[in-house]
């Protein structure tokens, strides 16, 4: 049965941003990669910079980000997205260049690349998805895995004696003079999602003004590998991850603080 809507009453409140391709994604049900994609796409639409943006995909679940974003994309080796983005940006300084990286990608194998991109004040935006595990390879321990958290490679829970401590990447990058805007947000509820979008917008504005390196960390869920339902995952994020990974602005350059969105 089809219902006909009264065009008088019909009002379009939600549509796919131009910066997203109209296609199904390979992400698992409940995964917040989709939310992060959408936020970035909305901001790019709002700023009207789709044709001037070049994305650098990383290796992880978001390896296929270039299939979902409707602008030019290149795809970096595992961890090297900030170096590749540097190469693109230095040749095309008037384009917007972004990386989209997971926690294994950015905070483990790619730590040197991101730290030095930040230290150089490379004028790029890094969007960092912290889901506390290696999603794509099946949920192994990541540098962000919480103490005691069970993963497929820390089956008895992360043992800080032998497996060390998680890395708070935003706090770490915020210590670098070249970084202008470094914040952590979360994608576990609508309010926080709105705050994340605002941070993404700010990061793009930083790049638009040539103010240097920006990084927005987004706490994310991985229901499949966490072995939880999406709802349980969102709750786990709020209860376990947020206390460890403070939602905060860790570095806001004075010139960035003046940006009004």
């Amino acid at each position: 049965m089809t219902t006909t809507l009264d065009p008088e009453l019909e009002q379009l409140v939600y549509e796919r941003p131009d910066s997203l391709v109209d296609c199904a994604t390979h992400y698992c049900p409940g995964c917040t990669h989709g939310v992060a994609h959408r936020l970035i796409a909305e901001v790019i639409d709002e700023m009207g910079i789709r044709e001037k943006t070049i994305g650098v995909a990383s290796v992880g679940c978001s390896v296929f980000a270039y299939n979902y974003f409707n602008f030019d994309f290149v795809q970096a080796p595992h961890g090297r997205a900030p170096a590749m983005a540097t190469g693109v940006k230095r040749v095309l300084p008037d384009r917007f260049v972004i990386t989209y990286q997971g926690d294994g990608d950015m905070a483990s194998i790619g730590m040197a690349e991101v730290v030095h991109a930040a230290a150089r004040g490379e004028n790029i935006c890094v969007f960092f998805i912290n889901n506390a595990n290696y999603g794509m390879t099946g949920g192994q321990m990541a540098p962000t895995t919480l103490p005691g958290q069970k993963t497929s490679s820390s089956p008895s829970g992360r043992d800080i004696e032998t497996q060390g401590y998680p890395i708070r990447a935003a706090e770490l990058l915020a210590t670098l003079d070249g970084a202008s805007y470094v914040v952590r947000r979360s994608l576990h509820d609508p309010k926080n999602i709105r705050l994340a979008k605002k941070a993404i917008r700010t990061a793009f504005e930083v790049q638009a003004r040539g103010l240097g390196f920006s990084m927005v960390e987004m706490l994310s869920i991985c229901p499949t590998n966490w072995g939880m339902t999406p709802l349980q995952s969102l709750q786990w994020l709020e209860e376990k991850m947020v206390p460890y990974y403070a939602l905060n602005d860790f570095k806001v350059h004075p010139a960035v603080a003046e940006i009004r969105i």
């Binding site: 789709r50 044709e51 001037k52 943006t53 070049i54 650098v56 995909a57 390896v63 270039y66 299939n67 974003f69 409707n70 602008f71 030019d72 994309f73 290149v74 795809q75 970096a76 080796p77 090297r80 170096a83 590749m84 983005a85 540097t86 190469g87 693109v88 940006k89 230095r90 040749v91 095309l92 384009r95 040197a112 690349e113 730290v115 030095h116 150089r120």
Partner: protein
């Protein structure tokens, strides 16, 4: 343009600038560092991109990013640094974007030393990165040739969307010789249809080396292989010296070939009918030229500054037809012409053998001398 005195590394850098290189990314390592230092001054002066990267991993991936925008881009390093670049080289090859790399080889393995060697031949020519890919590898034997081949490297890289390597040893990077620079080419204004520069008034583009569906990967592998067959058919380069009437042939690339030429001249002065075949493209390997020399000559000698890496490629072509001998210095030592002359005399005395492996016989001679 007049001939001027140039240091090898700096000459390569200036040649790259004149070939229209728009971005350089590198990391210091002896005996290549002057190339990076020269670029750190020259590129910003021209408003072009220069970054001293955090590592060779960083540098090669910056090259990768810049290459995706369709501009001419290069990096340079020496052996241990080139090992770190192998990941990026494989990705660049898999994405089919052009890039130029200069490897100023030093003694190894490991940290080795900073003296001249040719021991990266296998890593570069036969692929140190993962997967089936085929770099074009140019091996100069003088500063002038390094200049000319650097320009050619950019042209070939673009023509075949390929990684092109200029492979030389530390002595060529460090030595000063007169050389004539090519004219300054304008920077590119038009970019290929695959370049990712922002999707303005066109469909989006993506550049990646991922083909998750095996049949798609196989299609790519076949495309790369067919393109390589084209390179093999069109781009083989080598030089011969005194080969027309030669009964014996010496083969060596780069500095080893150059020193061998002195030995060949000395042997000619003694009346020995010997010539030299010096591959300039060590990849694609000059198979037909080696084959022709084998057909013509009674015996051959391969001279290298490694443990016989190119030797294996020569032996494959020779296929046991004529006796070959081998001579090498390793560890950062350049062979003396006299040492090679002694080997040529042995050939002329009919001492070359088809028994066993040339490397083993050479090792026995070395042991006997010690």
């Amino acid at each position: 343009m007049a001939r001027e005195l140039w240091k090898g590394n700096e000459a390569i850098a200036e040649a790259a600038v004149r070939a229209g290189c728009q971005a350089y990314f590198g990391y210091p390592i002896t005996p290549q560092t002057e190339l990076l230092e020269y670029m750190s001054r020259r590129m910003p002066e021209l408003g072009r991109a220069f970054v001293q990267a955090e590592s060779e991993l960083g540098a090669v991936n910056m090259v990768y990013g810049a290459a995706c925008t369709g501009v001419r881009v290069m990096s340079s390093s020496s052996s241990p640094g080139v090992s770190l670049m192998m990941e990026g080289i494989s990705y660049i090859a898999g994405t089919e974007v052009p890039a130029v790399l200069v490897d100023v080889m030093r003694g190894g393995p490991g940290l080795g030393n900073i003296a001249p060697a040719q021991a990266d031949y296998n890593q570069i020519v036969h692929g140190g990165g993962h997967g089936d890919y085929y770099p074009i590898v140019l091996a100069p034997a003088s500063v002038q040739e390094a200049v000319d081949l650097t320009v050619l490297a950019f042209d070939l890289a673009e023509k075949y969307r390929s990684v092109t390597v200029v492979l030389l040893d530390g002595s060529l990077g460090q030595m000063m010789e007169p050389a004539e620079m090519p004219p300054m080419q304008p920077l590119k204004k038009e970019f290929p249809a695959w370049a990712t520069r922002g999707a303005e008034n066109r469909e989006r583009r993506m550049l990646s080396s991922i083909y998750l569906n095996p049949p798609d990967q196989e299609v790519t592998n076949l495309r790369l292989l067919r393109r390589w067959k084209e390179v093999e058919a069109n781009e083989v380069r080598f030089k011969t010296y005194y080969l027309e009437d030669a009964e014996y042939v010496v083969m060596g690339f780069g500095s080893a070939g150059r020193v061998a030429l002195s030995a060949v001249r000395a042997a000619r002065a003694e009346g020995i009918k010997v010539g030299l075949l010096r591959p300039i493209t060590v990849s694609p390997f000059p198979v037909q030229a080696v084959d022709a020399a084998v057909r013509q000559c009674k015996a051959g000698l391969v001279v290298e500054m490694n443990a016989g890496q190119m030797l294996e490629d020569v032996l494959r072509v020779n296929n046991n037809r004529i006796p070959f001998e081998f001579f090498a210095r390793m560890g950062g030592i350049v062979p003396f012409p006299d040492e090679i002359l002694a080997e040529i005399r042995r050939l002329a005395q009919g001492k070359a053998s088809l028994e066993g492996h040339p490397r083993d016989r050479w090792l026995e001679r070395v042991a006997a001398q010690a």
